[in-house]
């Protein structure tokens, strides 16, 4: 295919390999939505020896688990699996798109794991072996247990409801007492073991809360779910008329659904953090004193060891450059797209990508002490702190459950002491009170609004990740933006005023460089044949000599121009016999930026920029968008500290950012948003991810959050009013199981119908 442009050599190489394998249909299957993530700057790295992670089974099969970096859609899954399964000796290759992990098994001795990994790396994906036993999220047991409990409760709820409807019909039609008792017994046989099994998640949580001398929503739930079948069992023994098995099991089933959905959202977030930790796990090439080199895992590199980083490789440790000079892409740490040049004596940090020339580094810190590990730690700590936020449903529960319990107790005491009733029927009435007040509508009031809101947002390309994000968003009165990639598109564009002739020459020279400015030149003039024999001088620029003399493309110093103090985002082209020409670049604003900021202000929010970029560049963007308050040169920890200060001052902060350096700040803010163009980690740290280039998504979500909050409050009041009306009836002993089921379902339907109004809301 001639005339096809590839974003990087990796893609071109992958394309060749795909064609060679006869897997050309990959491109038909690609179903990428929106903007893809940036191309990985690394050339295919050398596969580290995975033998330490290989598990040998007794039947001669070897098994290896690997994390896959760069997975985009189902087509990637297909490509990796197909190309591996064509290798001889491979028993199974299976990629999970949700966990981004590859399980590989082969016959011992029949295949070489290094060759298999290399095969996939040449496709452009990076593989990192890991030990499934050591990862928390690999142990998905809890989520599976919830799903099992849910299935069992669902089965029981359906069958018991079938029997209960017959009994209710029997009350009107005059069913014989024997048949009724038989139905009660069958219900009991199903309900008791099911509740004992499927109710465990709630019982555990309730016990924990009581152990800490607190109460949560799970306490009244557990009480109702245990007491209702217990008292119904006694009634069944006595041949009584009413049994509440159906109420208890149905309640349990609905609550388990909510619990399972909640749990899945949280598991995803943890997954991405572990993925980041694995990124750190590239092998480090250590140079011994006698000059020999060997590969070590980065965590086993000791301070003082010399490490070699090839051009295109990722720096594995924090340290000081001993020899060599190169341009480093620090975007993983600072979020800024312009590389910085580093020479002998300068500090470098783990996670940076070495762009132009090999470096030899003396290690200072490795493993858990590196800056990259610090960022991960910072993010986890910030997330833990945010756990202090109390959701509206829990706040209601704190008030609600003591009231419910005392009302039920009062009912029981009232009937036995004042009404001279035997304790069994009095207890039955008290349980009816517990069931009628059981927070079924209350437990639905908030989640249903959240489901309606997240579906409404999904239609506009906005992903709601945290369940309580809308509640936290409602209170926001302060919005902090990152600059590069958030307010701007993060992609440098050549300004139109460039001289076309000079641009043609510059593009020919820039063709082979990975430097972002050189790439921007290529984008402006892609149809120029590249020149051979271009030399890349690290930290300075590109040099090319032909018959007419020497051409230089690079910084102002490289071509002998004085520094005019302008921004660093310019390149100079100088020939031997002509004056230097300047190329200027601009990082474009996202569309709708000013309008979105206007709307945020109109909603009562203060807007601010916090960036890791140079203050001059931040000021330019702030002036361009009319934002008075801005901070430049902030490191990840500075951003977190700044957010903590704002929080201490009583502000409720929404943080919007896209880079890995923003991830801790995103986790520290009251609520956070990230564009879908951000890194995986940023997206996992953020509560809300928005697709598309427009910033209008931010005021849209804020407006929807405020509406959703109003609906939640309405729903809670509706549920409370319902309970207030039903409780006196229950206390007087008029509530039969039929009435309980009717009240429970009609109040739930009312609450759901109210929440669905959110779907009609129009976003601007």
């Amino acid at each position: 295919m001639d005339g096809v442009q590839f974003c990087c050599r990796g893609c071109a190489g992958a394309f060749e390999l795909i064609k060679g394998l006869g897997l050309g249909r990959y491109d038909e299957r690609r179903s990428l939505t929106g903007v893809t993530q940036g191309a990985r700057p690394e050339a295919a790295p050398v596969a580290a020896d995975p033998s330490a992670w290989v598990v040998a089974e007794p039947d001669g099969t070897c098994r290896l688990s690997l994390m896959v970096d760069g997975l985009q859609c189902g087509a990637c899954v297909w490509l990796i699996e197909q190309s591996l399964q064509r290798e001889p000796g491979v028993r199974q290759a299976r990629v999970s798109l949700s966990t981004r992990r590859l399980t590989l098994s082969w016959l011992k001795g029949a295949a070489d794991p290094i060759a298999l990994i290399d095969r996939v790396q040449r496709l452009g994906y990076r593989l990192v072996p890991f030990d499934p036993c050591l990862l928390q999220s690999a142990d998905d047991g809890e989520s599976k247990a919830l799903l099992r409990a849910m299935a069992v409760a669902g089965f029981a709820a359906g069958n018991i409801m079938l029997l209960s409807v017959s009994v209710w019909a029997g009350h009107a039609e005059g069913m014989a007492a024997g048949t009724r008792d038989l139905f009660h017994w069958i219900s009991a046989l199903i309900a008791v073991p099911v509740i004992a099994y499927a109710g465990q998640p709630f019982f555990r949580s309730a016990l924990q809360a009581i152990g800490n001398r607190r109460t949560n929503m799970d306490v009244p739930i557990s009480l109702a779910v245990i007491l209702a079948p217990a008292i119904s069992l006694i009634e069944t023994f006595r041949g009584g008329e009413h049994a509440y098995f159906d109420s208890a099991v149905t309640l349990l089933f609905f609550l388990l659904i909510g619990r399972y959905l909640d749990r899945r959202v949280r598991a995803r977030a943890r997954l991405a953090v572990e993925q980041l930790a694995a990124l750190n796990a590239t092998a480090a090439t250590v140079v011994d004193d006698d000059g020999a080199t060997r590969d070590l895992p980065p965590t086993s590199v000791q301070p003082g060891m010399r490490v070699l980083v090839s051009a295109g490789g990722r720096v594995p440790v924090d340290g000081v450059i001993e020899s060599g000079a190169s341009d480093l892409d620090l975007s993983i740490l600072s979020g800024e797209s312009v590389p910085v040049s580093r020479k002998a004596g300068d500090e470098v940090f783990a996670g940076a990508v070495n762009l132009t020339a090999p470096l030899r580094i003396v290690t200072r810190q490795s493993g858990a002490k590196t800056l990259l590990a610090d960022i991960i730690g910072l993010m986890e700590a910030a997330e833990a702190r945010r756990g202090r936020y109390v959701r509206i449903a829990d706040r209601v529960a704190r008030l609600y459950s003591p009231v419910v319990h005392s009302v039920a107790l009062l009912t029981f005491l009232g009937w036995t002491l004042l009404g001279d009733m035997a304790w069994q029927p009095a207890l039955l009435i008290a349980v009816a009170v517990l069931i009628i007040t059981c927070p079924c509508a209350l437990a639905l009031a908030v989640p249903v609004v959240q489901v309606a809101a997240s579906q409404r947002l999904m239609r506009s390309g906005i992903l709601l990740k945290a369940g309580d994000a809308l509640e936290r968003l409602r209170e926001v009165d302060y919005v902090v933006f990152d600059k590069t990639g958030t307010l701007t598109t993060g992609e440098l564009r050549l300004l139109d005023n460039a001289d076309p002739e000079a641009l043609t020459i510059a593009s020919a020279i820039a063709a082979g460089s990975r430097h972002p400015l050189a790439r921007a030149i290529r984008r402006a003039a892609p149809r120029v044949a590249p020149k051979d024999g271009v030399r890349e001088i690290a930290g300075s620029g590109l040099e090319f000599t032909d018959g007419a003399g020497t051409w230089r493309l690079g910084s102002h110093a490289f071509v002998g121009e004085a520094d005019d103090g302008g921004d660093a985002q310019s390149l100079w082209l100088a020939g031997s016999d002509r004056p230097p020409v300047r190329f200027q670049f601009h990082d474009d604003f996202r569309p709708d930026g000013p309008a979105a900021i206007q709307r945020l202000r109109a909603m009562g929010c203060t807007v601010e920029i916090c960036s890791g970029d140079r203050p001059a560049a931040v000021r330019a963007v702030a002036t361009g968008l009319g934002i008075e308050s801005w901070h430049g040169g902030m490191r990840p920890a500075d951003k977190v500290a700044h957010l903590e200060q704002l929080r201490a001052a009583g502000r409720r902060v929404l943080m919007v950012g896209d880079g890995l350096n923003d991830a801790p700040a995103l986790a520290a803010a009251q609520v956070s948003m990230a564009p879908a163009t951000g890194t995986d980690v940023t997206q996992s740290a953020a509560d809300i991810v928005f697709q598309g280039a427009s910033l209008a998504a931010i005021p849209d979500v804020l407006a929807l959050a405020r509406t959703a909050d109003r609906l939640m409050r309405q729903n809670l009041s509706l549920a409370l009013v319902y309970n207030l009306a039903a409780v006196p009836l229950a206390m007087l002993g008029y509530v039969t199981p039929l009435i309980a089921a009717l009240a429970m379902s009609s109040s739930s339907i009312l609450v759901i119908a109210n929440a669905l109004r959110l779907g009609k809301m129009r976003l601007q």
């Binding site: 299957r29 179903s31 189902g74 087509a75 949700s98 966990t99 099992r148 089965f155």
Partner: protein, 50 residues
């Protein structure tokens, strides 16, 4: 009404069969990758030809 003595166990047995099928699917890892499964259905099983 003695028919109930047959019908109810039969209904319960059929329901339990469905439950067992679900639990088996869960155990054999069919719920591990819900996103991948959505696109996996579109892949043809091609015989290795190359």
């Amino acid at each position: 009404m003695t028919i109930l003595l047959y019908l109810i166990p039969v209904a319960l047995f059929l329901g339990a069969l469905g439950l067992a099928a679900f639990l088996w699917a869960l155990k054999s890892g069919q719920y591990d990758d819900l996103e991948g499964a959505a696109s996996r259905i579109l892949f043809d099983e091609e015989p290795p030809s190359a």
